[in-house]
Amino acid sequence: MNFRRIFKAIFQSQLGPIFALAFILMLFAIADQRWSSGNYLSPRNFRVMMNSAALIAVPALGMTMIIIAAGIDLSAGTALTLCGTVLATQFKYAAVASGEPGFVWVVLQAVGLTLLTGCLCGLVNGSLISLTKVVPFIVTLGTMTIFLGVGQIISKESTVYADEKNIPGWLSDFCYTGSNSERYLNFGVFPNVPNSVLLTLVLALAVVLLLRYTVFGRNVFAIGSSESTARLCGVNVPFTIIAVYTLAGVFVALGGLMYYANVKNGNPSDGMGKELEIIAAVVLGGGSLSGGRGSILGTLMGALIITAIRSGCAQLSILNTYTHIIIGGIIIVAVIVDQLRHGSPEWFFRLLPAKSTEG
């Protein structure tokens, strides 16, 4: 048995982030058993982790497409809480309460406006990037604060709380992670999986199919790999870029909806810094900021890795400050490992023993 060859195969496969996640889960589970309550892998904590990961993963799906197209969206965080705030305001000022006739229109309007807000945010980003040729980093750095400001105008610079009776039941249950199995959709197949996780999986599958099996998806990869080649091949580059950002806006809006369902209020400034978490999930999953590379499965794993570390540190009562340092370190290590994987330098593999001792 050739250890070096097996390691190389695993190392270079698409499954890298899955192994990384498994390794991290194992590490924390052992530490948790040894020094703490041993609740790390309990069903409940697992649900909490999955739900937190879903909150990152949904906007990160859109971010993956943007990053594959060699872009970046720094405004995703504030756009997300802007959407959440819009939703909160709609419920706060709703004329009809949950359960009363006509409430369905309130919900439709609220959700519709939220999605529209997300679309508009993405459309603004995409149009500015593709029409002005200013680099995405700068454009979205600008819109990041613009969206924050717009959110603060809507929220009148405070946190928006809606009356409990105005919030539809399905939304209250959306990010529920407790033990009452009646509050899960289940469908008779998945016992007690948070609804947010189900939505994430459906969306992720949709994006996988979109990227792999449509002309649009292949064009996104082509633009990210070489924009001038794409143009030369007749790809409508400006349209594709606008479409990517707008579509990502929809995911940001859905992220905003989940954020609202999770915290039950809308605070526009909550979003500051969320974009970095979202980008980190994509990068941990193997997305390359220079474009042309990124995977949805990887992004999901990236989101899980971030929450697994955060939750593990919480279980072990590691101070928040150290958690930040650990997550930052993991991101850098992950990118170094990713570069090694793609460069596959022989010296690296030569460090490994050629044959296992069991021979």
């Binding site: 792999r212 099996y213 449509t214 002309v215 998806g217 292949r218 064009n219 990869f221 082509a222 790999s225 070489s226 001038s228 080649t229 794409a230 143009r231 030369l232 091949c233 007749g234 790809v235 409508n236 042309g292 590379r293």
Partner: protein, 494 residues
């Protein structure tokens, strides 16, 4: 002493994964002479140069400079040992001044401080040696012409007191008069007892500048000797390992009825008021110096560059100037910049091949990947691309094979009017012959080809008509048989 061996390379082996790029190469470079390193693409020339310059490390073998072992660990180490490399793509910092570029990486005294004044005489001397005595050391490099930039690169090697200079295809993008300048400088460097290794695809050029040659094939040194002792046929058959009967194979074809009409086409700078009538099944060559507007002309025809006036019509019908419309009307384009524009290097061969005509494989918007792969593989076979698998990244292919992928793409696109910008640039003699063969076959099936090239022998051999450009204008169009190289050059520099 002139003629003494400085650099010795013995039994160098290098493998990239399963592919053996070099299998025991040995050669000697003597002071004051230029050694031409000849070989097809993929023969291992570039790998050998990269090992010499410290960019790669050899798996086994020895190198020595002045009988002292030479094992470069990186580019700066190489510089210290007196080896400098002039790359095909220039390696200067365009925003910096000439002086700063020359002193980049130079470790003079000054304890980490760069005292420009103290280095001035050295800088000026180096510039004078390469014939740039009139250039101000504070001029910005990016504003200089390509040829001047190349001279600056050589000057940088002189500032670093290089004793061995490696040239990788230095003339591939130079106009003829600058090539002459470069050769004069190389002769000057010989006087200074500098040893040189010179890689080029152009045999006539090598003949002019090199004293000795070494031919690489499949990572081995298959022959060497004095330049004047070997004729072209000998060298070419060493390169390809078989006798090449015909460097310019042609396929019989007859231009038919008028088809594409370019009327008064004008860009923002170049081209200027160009009129061309192209016929079905015709190969139309465009000659001219680099910078004469040839590239701009065919880019404008394709709709990649904006036109400020004029029209392009097919069958008498004007076509709107967007790439999408032009592709629909049957135009296809091959970029001279294969690396950045022609192909998306990170994407797979299949992706690159099919990108311009993906819609063929969709049913209600869903791509049929299997169908697409099968079609792509059929094309790869047709143009004989050497690859491990069709989902391999294009960047892993050799230059010649990449070019075949680019050509296969416009075939796949079912383009009928092929605009090709330097389609044989940087590819080896054998592949070039295959490309000419393909062009002839395409013309025979009624496709029209516009062929831009700086290599006159191929234009004269392959084209039906040739137009010569100068300063953005199409100066003269004649049947290919009515041109000679000298006449083309006369018009081109006029």
């Amino acid at each position: 002493m002139r003629g003494q061996s400085i650099l010795e390379v013995n039994e160098i082996c290098k493998a990239f994964g399963p592919t053996k790029a070099l299998r025991g190469v040995g050669l000697k470079v003597r002071s004051g002479e230029a050694l031409a390193l000849i070989g097809e693409n993929g023969a291992g020339k570039s790998t050998l140069l990269k090992i010499l310059s410290g960019a790669h490390r050899a798996d086994s073998g020895q190198m020595s400079i002045d009988d002292k072992p030479f094992r470069p660990s990186g580019p700066s180490d190489t510089r210290q040992s007196g080896v400098a490399m002039i790359y095909q793509e220039l390696n200067l910092a365009p925003e910096l001044s000439v002086e700063d570029n020359l002193l980049l990486g130079y470790r003079g005294s000054g304890g980490g401080l760069l005292i420009r004044k103290r280095q001035r005489p050295k800088v000026i001397e180096a510039l004078e040696t390469v014939g740039l005595g009139g250039l101000s050391p504070t001029a910005i490099v990016g504003e200089q012409s390509l040829a001047t930039q190349q001279m600056i690169e050589i000057a940088r090697a002189l500032v670093a007191e290089a004793r061995i200079i490696l040239f990788d295809e230095p003339t591939s993008s130079l106009p003829k008069k600058d090539v002459a300048r470069l050769f004069a400088i190389i002769n000057e460097l010989k006087e200074r007892e500098i040893g040189m290794v010179y890689i080029s695809h152009f045999l006539e050029e090598v003949r002019e500048v090199a004293d000795r040659y070494a031919v690489l094939r499949d990572g081995e040194n298959v022959g060497e000797g004095r330049m004047e002792d070997a004729d072209d046929d000998t060298i070419v058959s060493l390169m390809v390992g078989r006798d090449v009967k015909n460097l310019f194979p042609t396929v019989a074809h007859r231009p038919g009825e008028p088809w594409v009409s370019v009327q008064k086409l004008t860009g923002f700078r170049y081209p200027k008021k160009i009129n061309i009538e192209l016929r079905r099944g015709e190969i139309f060559g465009i000659a001219g110096l680099v910078g004469a507007g040839r590239t701009e002309l065919i880019r404008t025809i394709f709709g990649l560059d904006h036109s400020s006036a004029g029209s392009v019509s097919v069958n008498g019908k004007p076509i709107r100037p967007t790439i999408g419309e032009r592709i629909k009307a049957g135009f296809g384009f091959i970029s001279e910049d294969r690396k950045n524009e022609g192909l998306a290097q990170d994407l797979s061969i299949v992706d690159n091949l099919t990108l311009s005509r993906l819609a063929d494989y969709t049913t209600i918007g869903v791509l049929n990947l299997k169908h697409r792969k099968r079609a792509a593989e059929k094309l790869l076979e047709r143009v004989q691309v050497k690859c491990n698998a069709s989902d391999q990244a294009v960047s892993e292919l050799s230059g010649g094979n990449q070019q075949k992928v680019a050509i296969a793409r416009i075939l796949h696109q079912q383009a009928d009017i092929l605009l090709m910008d330097e389609p044989t640039k940087g590819i080896d003699v054998g592949t070039k012959a295959e490309v000419y063969q393909m062009l002839g076959e395409m013309a025979a099936t009624g496709k029209t080809i516009v062929f831009v090239s700086s290599y006159l022998p191929e234009l004269l051999a392959v084209c039906d008509r040739i137009g010569v450009m100068a300063r953005g204008e199409l100066r003269d169009v004649r049947d290919a048989v009515d041109w000679t190289e000298e006449e083309v050059m006369k018009v081109a520099i006029g």
